[in-house]
């Protein structure tokens, strides 16, 4: 059900910027919780239908009910207390938590959104779930003896429980979001073990999204065969040139693909074909060439998914949707080139 037979299937990665009207409404203390809930449903419906209209094969709701990918899950996991704000960059900060006791799964914090998306879309539904390694890496550890224990406890006792519960409610695909995956090259073994713990006994397609690795995924390559995932969805476009063509020198942002192939990885690749940190719009022909370059290396184009580098929440909604249109159009052009 969840693997595609057409070349270059298209998907989003997760987050979209929330509409201003929704933010104003949920911040308004005069509005009832019931009305806020209705507004979130409206925004989710709008996102789902827009993504469908754009023509994506795999959709979700733009994570419209989540604050962001770290703070939201941490709120629902026993064992964490928020410590305060820490800088991501410049004036951007995130709320960082301390782990002060054993972590425990309390409730399926993505269930309402999954149910709503399933009710309102016939497309393949992919649920993004923040991974155990990232949850641990972005937190302070005051409880566990070491990071390995912390990460594996999160994997076994929180993220796997969540995933199983989502699959029991008909999730087609689970995307484990691990932006921290390759931050500490010496800890890749822990990361691999954690993903495998999450996937243990799960009867659904598991994909892994990582981004902005800082080391061009060189740390990930040796572990790609042992990590039990159907797909690695990775960011590439922000490092690539904007010139058209499928030669190695033009497609310099995608150089790790060769290393993956040489290592023997033959699973799916979620290919980041548009940069989520710039407003400039990639021409569909550029998206096409990025996909064709990947196909030149990997061979089977049904295993190459076209997606943005990461979630598009940092872009305005109009830019984000236009970037996704170009992903879809570029994939169409790539299919035409093959035929």
């Amino acid at each position: 059900m969840s693997s595609m037979t057409k070349p270059f299937p298209t998907q989003e990665i997760g987050s979209l910027k929330k509409p201003e009207w929704l933010l104003e409404l949920v911040r308004n203390k005069q509005i009832s919780d019931e009305d806020k809930s209705k507004a979130r449903n409206d925004a989710a419906y709008l996102n789902i239908k827009t993504l469908e209209d754009i023509g994506l094969d795999v959709v979700y709701d733009g994570e419209v009910r989540r604050i962001e990918m770290y703070e939201y899950p941490v709120r629902y996991i026993d064992g964490f207390e928020f410590a305060g704000l820490v800088r991501s960059w410049d004036n951007k900060y995130y709320k960082k938590a301390r782990c002060v006791s054993k972590v425990r799964y309390k409730t399926n914090f993505h269930l309402d959104e999954l149910k709503f998306v399933k009710e309102n879309s016939n497309r393949t539904v992919k649920v993004p779930v923040t991974g155990p390694y990232t949850l641990a890496d972005w937190s302070y550890n005051e409880y566990y003896k070491n990071k390995e224990e912390f990460v594996l406890d999160l994997a076994k006792n929180v993220v796997r429980q969540l995933i199983i519960d989502l699959v029991n409610h008909d999730a087609d695909v689970i995307q484990i979001d691990e932006p921290a995956a390759t931050t500490h090259p010496s800890e890749m073994k822990i990361f691999a073990e954690a993903i495998n713990e999450c996937a243990k006994g799960v009867n659904a397609k598991i994909t892994v999204h990582a981004c902005y690795s800082g080391n061009d995924y060189q740390a990930l390559v040796p572990y790609t065969l042992e990590i039990k995932t159907s797909q690695f969805a990775l960011e590439f476009a922000n490092r690539d040139s904007w010139k058209l063509g499928v030669s190695d020198d033009v497609r310099n942002g995608y150089s790790v693909l060769k290393a993956l192939k040489e290592h023997g990885y033959n699973g799916e690749i979620g290919l980041g074909v548009v940069d989520v940190h710039v407003d400039d719009l990639e021409p569909p022909e550029l998206v096409r060439d990025r996909l064709l370059y990947a196909a030149k290396i990997f061979g089977d184009p049904t295993k190459i998914y076209a997606n943005p580098d990461c979630g598009l929440r940092t872009r305005t909604r109009s830019i984000a949707f236009e970037k996704l249109r170009r992903v879809v159009k570029g994939a169409e052009l790539a299919r035409q080139s093959l035929s």
Binding site: G84, L85, V86, N91, A180, H277
Partner: protein, 310 residues
Amino acid sequence: MIKTFALGIYPRSPKLIDATRKNDKKLQMLFKIEKKKLIKEQQKAKLSYVCDPLLDWNDMFRPFSNLKGVSLGALNRFFETNTFYRRLIINGELDDYSNIIKSNLAFSLLPKHKEVAACMPDPYTFADLNENKYYKNHTDYLFAIADMLKKEAQTLAKAKVKLIQLNAPSIAYKSDNVDISLIKDAIERIKQGLKAKVYLHLYFGSVSKIFSRLLDIKIDGLSIDVSSTDLNSLIGYKVDNGLCLGAVDAMSTRMEDVKETAKIISNAFDKIGPKEAYISTTCDLEFLPYEFAVKKLSRLGAIARNVKYD
């Protein structure tokens, strides 16, 4: 009592973060008020040196983006943290403005009766984390940065800065693969003739394997993050100059036990026997939320008062 300081970028308070998000009209005034508060916290903790908490610095390189021939590049992860910095692109000859750091420090807020310290990137880290599109080879690039930083350091020394810490995470992080003799030349260029103490601050990686060679660099001392470098690995070396131990972990919210930490540090200093002994934080406090950073400052002062070393 040994001496202590906590240099680098401090975290912003929630109020200041909120104001920067809203681009508040009174933002500049608020920066001043918040800096004053943190300088008071340094004094309350009885640190030997005070410093500007650099609340208005977005990262350790950003002030240099104002230099001619330098432009701002993409965001890059700062080592293995979840904090990003903007890479500088060196498109032309680094000019000798010599006042970049001083003009970005709030000297007027610092108490007149206290000794002042300041920090800047070391030339190797500066070269490593930014992009050279102008200089023909790495040596030229590194020495151009060292010469530029030397002028900055001279300006600071003229402004009565008594101690300059060169932040050198790249040397520690890449310690298996660094050319120490080249680094030595670059760093000694900065120190030569300078009327301020120079400490090389090595963090985010173990320097156990290169410690003996780092001791050859003719500066006033080394500053070692003991969360990355095993303290025991430093014992047995003859340290003729100063040694600063980063004894308070600025990457962890766990609070150090004052007496236990002081005992460990005292033992280490006794065995190593440096001419001058300091303690500091392992790295900039900006990796902690504001309230935790303030508590760590207080712990740092308390540990320093409990360390016994003559």
